[in-house]
């Protein structure tokens, strides 16, 4: 009897265990799903049916950069929220741009969406490779307009996403140049951050004199010098815009390079480097400038606002906590050409509605509030007042400088935004490089640039 009871108990337990196992497994799975969904559904996601494209797969291409890594960490949450699968491919910017334009121009629609840089906007928008996003923003089936609140974007920031009246991308960063300066050195020499170009040169001269006198070891100034449209070409054109000069008028097809204004920009840019930069910096790009600044060898430069993350990281920066941030020197009419990254939809994507949900999610106030403290340059203005964001930034001076630029320091429609920027800026930056290397003087370089540009159809304005 006892034996029979024991056998019965064992059989009963075995049956219970076998029956319970799938239930336990499914329970575990659903707990994981719930955790993912909870992560995806963390916060207010508006009145949108996020699951309406469940089961679809999106191919997303993005430049490998800090904000891309921040997004990458959130992809699982998006997948849990929508039930879609996302292939999130990171590539260095040069390769990303090549791959994207080859795919978009082939009309194959391999990538549903990708990041678009402001300066390269027209390369994609002008040939019609990007879908007009206004239709998606205004579609109540896809967008909860009240929750999404596109009015939260500063007008100049969202304006930069328009090309010929079409909203071709929604920004997720708002970037621009800020003056970076060493607060400890400025305090030691009783200097204040320069606001004009004359101030900038005068301040650099004082810093240089202090270095030569042995008071400081840092060089006064440096700027990007490696030739190329995405290298020194961008800094040179931005400097020109802050001086209210356009090297080229793309609409009138005229070149201002060899005009007195154009030459004054070339002279200022190259002479600041020749007079005040460390020796042998002719092939420096962002990487070298940042490294030199972080290691305390530069007293002042202009750099992107997004770079604060590595300047303020004590693990990699000797100057963490000693960097001041201010709007870059500008003339009264000059503005910094905005730089921003936005999400654009491939006009040939076969999943445009589903891809829009990704854009909506990635640029939503909910997600941007969550992730902005990790990259510091959000495109939505409400984020700048969020306690979590303020706490994560290097200081109120940094936020004030950003807000100044967002509200009045950037030009959302600078003349340089043109599909031909890459070619023309490359030519002019090559001549700038010739000046720095001492191969040509400013007059010769400007004249040679004009000669090359005239072959492309640009008439010298002088």
């Amino acid at each position: 009897m006892n034996r029979t009871i024991r056998r019965g108990i064992v059989v009963f337990l075995a049956v219970v265990a076998v029956c319970a196992m799938p239930a336990l497994l499914f329970a575990g799975g659903s707990q994981e799903q719930k955790a993912g969904a909870a992560s995806g559904a963390n916060g207010n996601w508006g009145n949108v049916n996020w699951q309406q494209f469940k089961g679809k797969t999106l191919n997303v291409l993005i430049t490998s950069m800090p904000v891309a890594e921040v997004y990458k960490k959130q992809i699982a949450a998006f997948e849990a929220l929508t039930g879609m699968k996302v292939n999130f491919e990171l590539l260095n910017d040069t390769d990303r741009r090549k791959k994207q334009i080859v795919d978009f121009s082939s009309h194959m629609g391999e990538y549903d969406l990708g990041n678009i840089g402001f300066a390269n906007r027209e390369e994609f928008a002008q040939p019609g490779y990007l879908a007009d996003l206004a239709a998606y923003v205004n579609n109540p089936k896809l967008t909860d307009a009240a929750w999404y609140n596109i009015g939260d974007y500063p007008k100049d920031i969202i304006a930069a996403g328009y090309s010929n009246g079409k909203l071709v991308y929604i920004p997720f960063t708002a970037e621009f140049f800020l003056l970076w300066y060493r607060t400890d050195i400025f305090k030691q020499l009783n200097l204040s951050p320069p606001k004009t170009f004359d101030d900038l040169r005068a301040t650099a001269a004082k810093l240089d004199a202090a270095r030569k006198a042995g008071q400081i070891s840092a060089y006064a100034w440096v700027d990007r010098e490696l030739p190329g449209s995405s290298e020194a070409g961008w800094n040179l054109f931005c400097t020109a815009n802050r001086m209210n000069v356009d090297f080229l008028n793309y609409k009138a097809m005229t070149s201002n390079v060899a005009t007195p204004q154009g030459k004054s920009v070339l002279t200022f840019y190259t002479s600041m480097i020749k007079d005040y930069a460390p020796p042998g910096t002719g092939n420096w790009s962002w990487g070298e400038i940042a490294q030199a600044f972080k290691s305390g060898q530069i007293a002042m430069t202009v750099g992107g606002n997004a770079s604060y993350t590595y300047l303020e990281d004590p693990a990699q920066s000797k100057v963490a906590g000693k960097v001041g941030y201010a709007p870059p020197p500008m003339t009264a009419e000059g503005r910094d050409p905005l730089w921003e990254w936005g999400w654009g939809l491939n006009a040939d994507s076969k999943n445009k509605d589903a891809a829009w949900l990704f854009v909506e999610w990635a640029t939503s106030p909910t997600l941007m509030n969550q992730i902005a403290p990790e990259y510091g340059v959000p495109a939505r203005k409400s984020v700048y007042a969020a306690p979590g964001f303020i706490k994560a930034m290097p200081g109120q001076q940094f936020i004030d400088a950003e807000l100044f630029m967002l509200n009045q320091g950037v030009n959302p429609d600078p003349g340089l935004i043109n599909a031909k920027y890459g070619e023309t800026a490359d030519i002019i930056s090559k001549e700038m490089s010739n000046i720095i290397a001492g191969i040509k003087n400013v007059d010769q370089a400007a004249s040679d640039a004009d000669a090359a540009l005239s072959k492309l159809g640009y008439t010298p304005a002088h």
Binding site: T94, R97, K98, I101, V102, S105, E122, E123, Q126, P127, E225, L226, P227, G228, S229, E231, P278, P279, G280, T281, G282, N283, E288, Q291, A292, Q297, A419, G422, E423, D426, K430, E431, S433, N434, I436, A437, G438, I439, K440, A452, K455
Partner: protein, 296 residues
């Protein structure tokens, strides 16, 4: 009268069948892209301004008659490849000769050969960044710090129009000469010792030993090494792209940089294809000429 052969028909056709897969791969990876490049080169094809328009040979005419930048890139490419290959061959031969010398200890020789293999396992981009930042750079590089210690002014790659090509050349010599050393070492080591002994008995001196014994024996290997290095130097890209980006100005812009810039910065795909096709013709012509002259 019927011809006779020691081989039957199957035996004669087998080599063609065996080589077919490789021939197909070569066709797909070589001839098809070359053909497509030629077709592209006959069009005005702007990635940012489609569609493509057939324009015949206009791209070629413009490149050869109205584009001094292309001509400069072509001349720089050829001069650089010739100088780099010649120097690598001379330096590589003497290093290989020293390492293969029976007087040199086997341990020392094998240690040096192992060290010489290092450039092969380092990606060109990594090696280029190393040279750009850790060696040449005046702020971060140790070369200039060492030079400063001995009172020599630092090297500035972007000063004048001579320093950058020399800097790239030195980098290329350091990175690529080991290839020549390794293959020539193997060739010299494989020469029968009895040949050296016989030449010694005949009273040849050091120079005669090199010129009349070693070089004639290993000439096929020298030619192969020379052709491989020459073609590599012609299509060099990573080193220039990373270290100088073709600068200062256009000084170090070779044909690879020129064609890539035309295609992916300017988006002139047809024009870039024409430049690439001309480049292909130049390479094929030079290699054919070289092989004919050397009579490999």
């Amino acid at each position: 009268m019927a011809t006779t052969s020691a081989y039957n028909r199957d035996d004669r056709t087998f080599p063609y069948i065996a080589i077919m897969p490789v021939a197909l791969i070569v066709l797909l990876l070589g001839a098809v892209p070359a053909g497509y490049t030629f077709l592209l080169s006959l069009q005005r094809y702007e990635l940012i301004n489609p569609p493509a328009v057939y324009i015949g040979m206009k791209n070629f005419v413009t490149l050869l008659t109205d584009d001094p930048r292309f001509v400069h890139a072509l001349v720089f490419t050829l001069c650089f490849a010739l100088v780099a290959t010649s120097l690598e061959l001379v330096i590589g031969f003497f290093i290989a000769h020293l390492l293969a010398d029976r007087e040199v200890s086997h341990f020392f020789s094998s240690m040096i050969r192992t060290l010489l293999l290092v450039p092969f396992v380092v990606a060109p981009v990594v090696a280029s960044y190393t040279f750009k930042t850790l060696i040449y750079d005046q702020t971060f590089g140790y070369l200039n710090n060492v030079l400063k210690l001995v009172g020599i002014p630092g090297v500035d790659l972007f000063h004048g129009s001579i320093a950058a090509p020399i800097g790239i050349l030195v980098m290329e010599l350091i990175l690529r000469t080991p290839f020549i050393v390794i293959i020539l070492y193997a060739a010299i080591s494989s020469i029968e010792v009895s040949i050296f002994d016989a030449s010694k008995i005949d009273g040849v001196n050091w120079a005669q030993n090199i010129g009349r014994v070693i070089i004639p024996v290993i000439r096929p290997i020298i030619v192969i090494g020379c052709i491989l290095r020459f073609m590599d130097a012609l299509k060099m890209f990573d080193e220039i792209y990373v270290v100088t980006a073709g600068g200062p100005g256009y000084v170090t812009e070779n044909l690879s940089i020129f064609a890539t810039t035309q295609a992916f910065t300017y988006f002139h795909m047809g024009y870039a294809a024409a430049a690439a096709f001309l480049f292909l013709l130049v390479v094929v012509f030079l290699v054919a000429l070289f092989m004919r002259r050397i009579r490999l």
